[in-house]
Symmetry: D2
Subunit: 346 residues, 4 copies
């Protein structure tokens, strides 16, 4: 039987979430997110981030959330700066350009932006013949598994403030970042240090749902018009409300992410024990080991994973992703297979 480490959205929803959907199924709820579950979920999040004066919207996917956040914040001539590996720069089929904005991808080694990296983009955009940078987009954890330290986020946040740039954090995998062993940030820190950010549900045990939290007053007005216009306002919006109610009651959000990290940790240690290295360091739920092609050929008979990059003629970097649903037996099987195939001879 094949076991998949392809991504963190291969299974449905955590059973407690499905159960809650079941229990509320025959309630009559107001449509379009104006229901009491969505309101309650927002209240739970406000409590968690210790901030009352924010707008919170439930949106059904990451690309949509990124698109709407950027659309609400930028005027037509303005652009968003991100790491060259940023999801909006690579993996959204040009969603941001499709709504009219240039994405300025800055080359960085580890998926993370720094004030210096942002500064370099600012320097290159100095006249009215060029787009005007107005927002910085980061992801935490990043697309290459790395994560921001508190000091790093504080530095970036204060640089953005000083330069008149909105700071937007894509939290599709925020759970994995916040529960990683290397993390020193809280949700309240994130809320305080960004102008808007979202908490990913889809990749952390929900069927679908991201919670966008908007703090900056200039980005908040009429946001629901934009949601509706983009076709992103679910008729049965309470489906998302219910899921976030569950995620933020009894720590489920953190527990699910912790499980994913724990499974990834086992994989990481096992792979390292076999003598293999990683393209990027990661203590979250995405790993990027470099493995010999002949090993990968064998592994791919029993496991699913994606190719990240060809390293040299004999080695390839793959991506392994764990999730709330990853089974210990799957991880064990992978490591056994790897061990059986022989350790690195380097």
């Amino acid at each position: 039987m094949i076991y998949s480490f392809n991504n963190d959205y291969s299974e449905g929803a955590h059973p407690r979430i499905l159960q809650a959907l079941m229990e509320c199924n025959l309630e009559q709820n107001d449509g379009y997110g104006m229901d009491r579950h969505t309101a309650h979920a927002a209240a739970l999040i406000r409590q968690e981030i210790r901030m009352e004066d924010v707008d919170i919207h439930m949106i059904s996917g990451g690309t949509q959330t990124n698109t709407l956040a950027i659309r609400a914040a930028l005027r037509p001539h303005q652009a968003v700066i991100c790491a060259d590996t940023g999801h909006i720069n690579v993996h959204e089929t040009g969603a941001i350009e499709a709504i009219g904005h240039k994405v300025i991808g800055v080359r960085v080694p580890d998926g993370k932006l720094t004030p210096a990296a942002v500064q370099s983009a600012l320097r290159e955009h100095s006249t009215e013949h060029m787009v005007q940078p107005r927002m910085v987009y980061i992801s935490n954890s990043t697309e290459v598994g790395t994560q921001y330290q508190k000091a790093e986020l504080e530095a970036l946040s204060s640089f953005c403030k000083q330069q008149g740039l909105y700071l937007f954090l894509d939290g599709a995998r925020l759970g994995a970042a916040l529960t990683s062993r290397d993390n020193d940030l809280t949700l309240a820190d994130i809320a305080r240090l960004t102008d808007l950010f979202y908490i990913g549900g889809t990749k952390n045990g929900a069927l679908l749902a991201e919670a966008l939290i908007i703090r900056h007053p200039d980005i908040r007005p009429d946001f629901r018009f934009l949601i509706k216009q983009h076709g992103a306002m679910l008729a049965k919006g309470w489906i998302m409300g219910i899921q976030f109610e569950e995620l933020f009651q009894n720590h489920l959000f953190y527990d699910l992410a912790s499980h994913a990290n724990e499974m990834a940790g086992k994989l990481r240690r096992g792979i390292a024990d076999c003598g293999y290295s990683f393209l990027w360091p990661s203590s979250t739920n995405q790993l990027f080991p470099v493995l010999p092609n002949h090993v990968l050929e064998k592994l791919s008979q029993d496991f699913l994973f994606s190719t990240q990059m060809i390293v040299d003629e004999e080695h390839t970097c793959i991506r392994l992703v764990t999730s709330w649903a990853t089974k210990q037996t799957g991880v064990d099987a992978f490591l056994e297979a790897l061990t059986r195939l022989g350790a690195s001879r380097q």
Copy 2:
């Protein structure tokens, strides 16, 4: 207790659909709609429309589906013709204009387009200083509860073909149309007479999902790029596949719509028995009775419904919507209340 006739998306999903989601929950599925449930659902739909050579995509809402269908079909200078009451013309916060296309709303009495109505729009758009009409958008059932007869759809279809216009049918409430007592169309007819159309799941017992069927070869290429770009490609796409599997196994799609129509039929007869009239004739699940304001004031203490139009100083047209989940007891209570409040004195 308040009972709602506000819309057909006030409750969750039919229990069989929830059950199926539950049973598949821990399967590992491919993401983004590349899974076997979505493929199977598409196969069931192909069987139902008796047509193999079509592309089928699952999309999470009506506005999104309309937007993507029109985006795929039109070049930048082209426009879509619809009834003035058309959903894309009124209730989508300018979604179609937001992707660059003018919506040409033609005034019609009953929510339905005819060749003559379309012709009038063509006549007014004759030079390169005007937008170029290229698509006709209709809905069945319409936004005012009416529906197309086979002869009407055939006439419109052949007119569109002759004029080089794509014909697109919004089937958000297609179930209600096809199961109405006045219907003489089948899904296979719809597929044959249009270039693309969608089958609504969200308003007929699904949590969320519309199935877009594209027959015209010019609209099919690269459609998944557009879905992804618009943020409409659900990571856990099989959620929609599973729902359409259930809807098109064992006639559930038709059974649910029939129930909605049956409940609406009871309401319609009861309201007519009280001597009240309707702004538009409807044998589907939306009714538009004209009621005295003093009666409405009382009714609104126990029932939810929306206001459609102010008719005169003393009368208002409201909208009552039934669904797969509407309870006989709710209908009875409404009619009892109406009767108690006294019949029309006209």
Copy 3:
């Protein structure tokens, strides 16, 4: 020889304008409108409107100016209200929709908007499922030759202010309006009563150039970025500056428009003397007489004009346009021909 009343842009530029272009031809000027001629032209306009605190931009055509003005003013979900005959609603190939905004055309009898007409559009756009009206677009003179009285513009202006709507005046033919015998407005009034407006050069003796005056502070920031992005920033921007220098030195702007009106007045009186009527009353440079088809057939052998509307089986409304370049001999010839063809027998 054929004489054309097709429009007011059939000839080049007034000789004084060409002369000025000639004289400055070998100067080295800064590009993109940052030159001293453009600055001087703006100073002359500021003087004329008796207002210092405005931004003034030279743009090469009407559609472009409308597009940029609206793009700068509206957020993505917002819409502009105009008369159904408004240029942006009919004759710009969907330019406004192409940048994402719905144009709400309100049916009016005479090409002019009133507070009541605007109010009717506001009433129909009341929820977040609809576009949000945010701007009112008017033209003076209008597309059907009519013009605003001071009291009308004051009423509309104060209504817009009260409703939070920007008021934008398209002045492609503002010269004709301001020099008409029925006019009681000045350029200074226009500036005071609108949030932004433009003064048309192209239809009043310039080769190409419209001067957009923006008074409202929210529409002014970064406007030059939008001009550049739209490809509307001429490398040799001083060409437009020089033209407006000429137009606003020694009253040329008014003199040219007066000539056009005078020629139109002769035509109007001559046509009326023959017993023919007009579809809209006009004391500006566009006339809309209703003439018998057999008369038009003969006239079209010697004169060019455009068809406005088929009135009945035997009559057609045509459009006759005069300009700064219209020759008295052309007008005389037209009236002689009309007289020769016989007066109306009505």
Copy 4:
């Protein structure tokens, strides 16, 4: 007196062009480019490129022409590949993104694309989660003064054909390329090897006008709708027709560009004689010498030029541009000043 080498659009138009505008000034011409001058200019260009079956449009500026060409060619999810220095990538305020398309900038050393460079961009865009490259944009001469050899263009053209990519050549400075001493291409070659390209007038002696030649049949339909929609259809379109009539009668186009190159050649040799080097090799009308800051400080008292790049703490690369109007005396003065300031001590 200050002399400017800032750009090639600092002066008006060549006197013969102005003269022609003068002579036709009182003709009555059809509007919007439907006049006989535009038709004649197109005929002259067809003759020059030895190709009949093309569409030719006159457009008033480079950014506009690029925008329209790309808009006509791409569907919403498609992207254009260009050199990182490409005008559309850097200097058009995001015009291409504003109409929805990602610009994929490929890092190259000399402003020119090769099949290998394009291939690298193709390799990185392989799935439907990424934009789909569909066009290659090049400029000749490039933004850094370099130019394509016939063999290079042939290789690129055949690679593009094989990969299903449109090849679009921005010829804002095509005159300078075709008349450079290193050139081995003709206009007919350019037409044959690209799918569409434009011949720049504005930077080669016209007031304003670029001539876009579209050969590929899929890009041609309805192009005038796009021009109008973008506000790029000049009412007095014959202004552009007349200018191209002059440019392509009696070799004026080539003569003007030759003069610019000749002036640049003198500057280049003089600068080299002083011992200074250039950042890019150029035999066209843009030079990029690297000069000591203390020299530049002095030069800037008498000459205008722009800064291209800071090379090190003591050296800066500037851009010097010559044109049809550059005076021998200006060039001499610059070289004298440079010599007086002392040769390089390297």
